[in-house]
């Protein structure tokens, strides 16, 4: 492997993101590293601490689970670090714990991600364990049954939690015929049906070099990273892209569902269609979402929490998935205030669509979005995650330098137009879990698919 490294030297291109230098802080430099074997990673070198942090993402998450095997992606994620190669579960966990190596996997709706954090002195072992977990997971009977029982237990626990019920009901109503309508982590029945063959099949299909993005931060140079990339990811299959997820239309538009549960506080989830990740209006949308739901001073928090004391927390965010794009939100309030809170959300939504934001709100949101950016860079893990997102979204290497300008150049005309495009008060679908007073459901709660 060393010979190979010297034969085709590591290819690295850099961009410098200068974040302003108030004190003695340095700039952050993002380098594009291509290993001798052709594996690409984005790297932020930082030798202050002897720590290396890696984040990787793959295409294919819970939405790709076969029907009847819902929860497969989650179960694989929980089992990859429970024994691989020559190590059974205990031996593998010991290798990690003795060296304080953080290795973990998780499944999202569209993607599957891996993360690794290690002290520099243990990096060889750490990357080797990661390779084994991805390429030679064992799925031994003991850990498989143990983890299955833990997942089933956690599914039972969350099945009584109002927040989970609200969220699952919303997705079920919005996507009756699409994978997004299924519970991400599966059901007690579906998790019971998952076999070792299913998991091996999933790992072989998803953990491939095709559509893999890698971000690395910390105490490592491009040369050594190139070597470790080839060792760790080089043996993964390079199979072609999986069939892209079918685009979905949202159902149950504008409906209100009520799931009766004896709790003192109702939990509300709401949402409607949004705009895609690559949409030219995404910067305007980011500004508008900040004004609508960016914590204190934002319209939702101001009107519903600060002025009226109706809730401890109200939130909303853009959720641009591969198969559908949404604006989602949620709030919790006592049962006799649900009707008022739901009405207010619709009013605030309608007012924004009708009149757009104020000049002052736009100025504040722009300075917040641009000014708060360096706050995402105060520890390694978020930086690694950001490097992965940038690649997934096909951004250029100098995107972070250009982003402030793109935010600043959004005009009021854009914002008024996009506000009408983004907020549709009558399309909001609400799910309420609790015992709301004076709130009428408009449709019966959809039942889980069998």
């Amino acid at each position: 492997m060393t010979t190979m490294l010297f034969r085709c030297a590591v290819f690295a291109l850099g961009t410098l993101l200068v974040l302003g230098r108030a004190g003695g802080a340095e700039a952050i430099e993002i380098k594009r590293v291509v290993s001798p074997g052709g594996i690409e990673a984005w790297l932020v070198e930082d030798h202050k601490n002897p720590i290396i942090t890696l984040s990787a993402s793959f295409k294919g998450g819970a939405a790709a689970d076969p029907d009847g095997k819902e929860g497969l992606a989650d179960m694989v994620a929980a089992l990859l670090d429970e024994g691989a190669g020559p190590y059974d579960s205990e031996a593998f966990r010991r290798q990690l714990e003795d060296r304080v190596i953080g290795l973990g996997f998780s499944a999202g709706r569209d993607g599957f991600s891996a993360r690794l954090q290690t002290l520099t002195e243990h990096s060889d072992t750490a990357f080797e364990l990661m390779r084994l977990a991805m390429s030679e997971p064992r799925f031994d009977p003991e850990p498989v049954e143990r983890i299955r029982a833990q997942i089933v237990s956690s599914l039972k626990r969350s099945a009584t939690r109002p927040q989970t019920i609200a969220s699952e009901t919303w997705w079920r109503a919005a996507f009756p015929d699409h994978p997004y309508g299924r519970p991400d982590s599966g059901t007690v029945d579906s998790v019971g049906r998952i076999t070792v063959e299913d998991m091996k099949g999933f790992a072989g299909k998803v953990l491939t070099r095709d559509q893999m993005e890698i971000g690395v931060v910390g105490d490592i140079d491009p040369q050594r990273l190139g070597l470790l990339l080839d060792r760790t990811f080089g043996a993964l299959p390079d199979t072609p892209a999986q069939t892209p997820l079918e685009a979905a239309q949202l159902s149950a538009v504008g409906e209100t569902f009520v799931v009766e549960q004896a709790v003192p506080q109702s939990v509300v989830v709401f949402g409607h269609r949004g705009i895609p990740r690559d949409d030219p209006d995404r910067f305007a949308a980011a500004i508008l979402m900040e004004i609508m739901a960016g914590g204190f001073g934002s319209r939702l928090t101001e009107e519903i929490r600060e002025k009226r004391g109706l809730t401890y927390g109200i939130y909303a965010y853009s959720l641009p998935l591969d198969g559908a794009q949404m604006v989602m939100g949620g709030v919790s309030t006592r049962n006799d205030k649900v009707a008022e809170t739901v009405r207010l959300v619709r009013e605030i939504w309608a007012e924004m669509a009708e009149n757009g934001p104020t000049e002052q709100e736009v100025r504040d949101a722009k300075t917040y979005i641009n000014g708060s950016f360096p706050m995402q860079l105060t520890s390694s893990a978020p930086i690694a995650g950001m490097l992965v997102s940038l690649q997934r979204d096909k951004r250029p290497l100098d995107y972070l330098e250009k982003r402030p300008e793109l935010i600043d150049s959004v005009t009021m005309t854009d914002l008024k137009r996009v506000a009408k495009r983004l907020f549709h008060a009558d399309e909001l679908t609400f799910v309420v879990v609790g015992q709301p007073k004076d709130l009428k459901a408009t449709a019966p709660v959809p039942q889980p698919r069998s």
């Binding site: 942090t53 966990r93 401890y312 927390g313 917040y368 708060s372 105060t378």
Partner: protein, 449 residues
């Protein structure tokens, strides 16, 4: 225990689950510099110049355990009200100004401290220092705003506690575990006492405890003590010191009786179990046992290679999950405990018996010195990760100083952990875990009628 009171909604969730040794991470880890202003306020700088960002925190040495009986939740309520304005910075403006300047702010209340913080571009540090210093003495409260915020806190209580059977049981378990020490009271407050909290209660608590001589300033990130010192003098140094009362912490009587707290709840999906003992902290009881107890928790119940997990989850399959936990960072009595969820087909009583049997075996046969050495080594190594953040070191150092530890003590943590022996672990285990006065809590499902 912390109670984050203002949630902006985390923009970036931590992706990694590496445990940062909160409150006590160690030697040559943070390398904080410190001095004290003439009014008695301690000033700490922790330099990390990787990005031009600072975390600015003010810690008050007062928390939920300093409330008078009948006023539970007051420390936390006041923390909410500190965002309700001064003459210079009207209500709601504090957070707005911080975010208008690209910063993020928050606050939280513990039993022993209350903290306010902002993370912001380092050239905006003077701005947040000026505003934080302003609200140390110039708070103004409008009656209607206090009333609205009381409703917010009641909603917070419903979200955190009333909608969650595990939280309801935990609240009752604390009330049983501490017979006399104020940790028995819920930080957020009992609902009926929150409802009765007034503007006058809050202002009285504020005037009693919020003073520079009862506060600590911690600035971490793109800062040096050379730059911080003149700013601290300018903004905080001009606030006159005021007499602040001693903390009145009633002593705990000897715990001689085992207690059992059970809750059957329709929202509980399965049985779960905990057992807790009072345990020494840095300032209560035999504090030399604190680190050995932390090592004990790691060895017997710290992860999937720990003794309890191997025996009860992997081998005997009586539990779905099981573990141990320790404290030590409190002013008053801490806790040591076990938790577990029985496996399908096993009762909570069977799980309880299995944990008891394992505990007896440990007390009889001791722990394996090799296991202690492994745990110590990985705990020491984890201290390195604590450096990889701007905000986490500010939290850890501020919290430790707020309960009365010194910078030297904070910095010697890896050395101290490194010196823990199997004998010390067993001595600590016998000192705490052979006492009869523990509290067992059991959560059970209850069919909805």
């Amino acid at each position: 225990m912390r109670l984050p009171a203002i949630g902006r909604g985390a923009l970036f969730l931590a992706l990694f689950c590496i445990l940062v040794p909160g409150g006590s991470a160690g030697a040559k880890v943070y390398e904080p510099e410190s001095f004290t202003l003439s009014n008695g306020m301690q000033v700490v700088a922790i330099t990390d110049q990787r990005v031009p960002v600072v975390t600015h925190m003010v810690w008050y040495k007062v928390g939920g355990a300093d409330e008078a009986p009948g006023e539970t939740g007051l420390a936390h309520f006041l923390e909410h009200l500190l965002f309700k304005g001064t003459e210079k910075v009207p209500s709601g403006e504090f957070s707005r100004i911080v975010s208008r300047n690209g910063g993020q702010g928050n606050a939280f209340t513990g039993y022993d401290y209350t903290a306010y913080f902002q993370t912001i571009a380092s050239d905006k540090l003077p701005l947040v220092m000026e505003m934080e210093a302003d609200r140390m003495t110039n708070l103004m409260l409008d009656e209607d705003e206090v009333a609205a915020e009381r409703q917010v806190v009641l909603e917070e209580r419903r979200s955190r506690v009333d909608n969650s059977p595990a939280a309801l049981l935990s609240e009752r378990t604390n009330a049983a575990l501490y017979l006399n020490y104020p940790y028995r009271r819920p930080l957020i407050g009992w609902a009926h006492e929150i409802e009765a909290l007034t503007r006058e209660n809050a202002l009285a608590f504020y005037r009693k405890w919020y003073a520079p001589n009862n506060a600590i300033l911690v600035v971490a990130g793109d800062i040096t003590m050379e730059r911080l010192k003149p700013l601290a003098e300018k903004y905080y140094g001009v606030i006159p010191a005021r007499p602040v009362p001693e903390r009145m912490r009633p002593e705990e009587p000897e715990q001689i009786a085992a207690r059992r707290v059970e809750l059957a709840h329709p929202l509980a999906a399965q049985e779960s179990w905990t057992r807790r003992w009072l345990a020494p902290s840095r300032f209560w009881g035999e504090s030399r046992h604190v680190l050995p107890l932390a090592v004990l928790a790691e060895v017997i119940g710290g992860g999937s290679t720990s003794r309890l997990y191997k025996k009860l989850v992997i081998e005997e399959k009586v539990a779905l999950s099981v573990g141990a936990f320790s404290g030590g960072g409190d002013i008053g009595p801490s806790t040591f405990g076990f938790y577990g969820v029985p496996a399908e087909g096993h009762s909570v009583e069977a799980l309880e018996k299995a944990v008891e049997a394992e505990l007896q075996a440990i007390l009889r046969d001791g722990v394996d010195p090799a296991e202690v050495a492994r745990a110590v080594k990985s705990m020491k190594a984890s201290a390195v990760y604590a450096r990889d953040s701007v905000t986490a070191p500010a939290h850890a150092v501020g919290q430790a100083l707020a309960v009365g530890r010194t910078i030297e003590q904070i910095e010697s943590w890896p050395e101290e952990v490194g010196a823990v022996t199997a004998e010390q672990v067993m001595e600590a285990a016998r000192a705490v875990l052979t006492k009869p006065g523990h509290v067992t809590s059991v959560l059970r499902p209850k069919p909805a009628s």
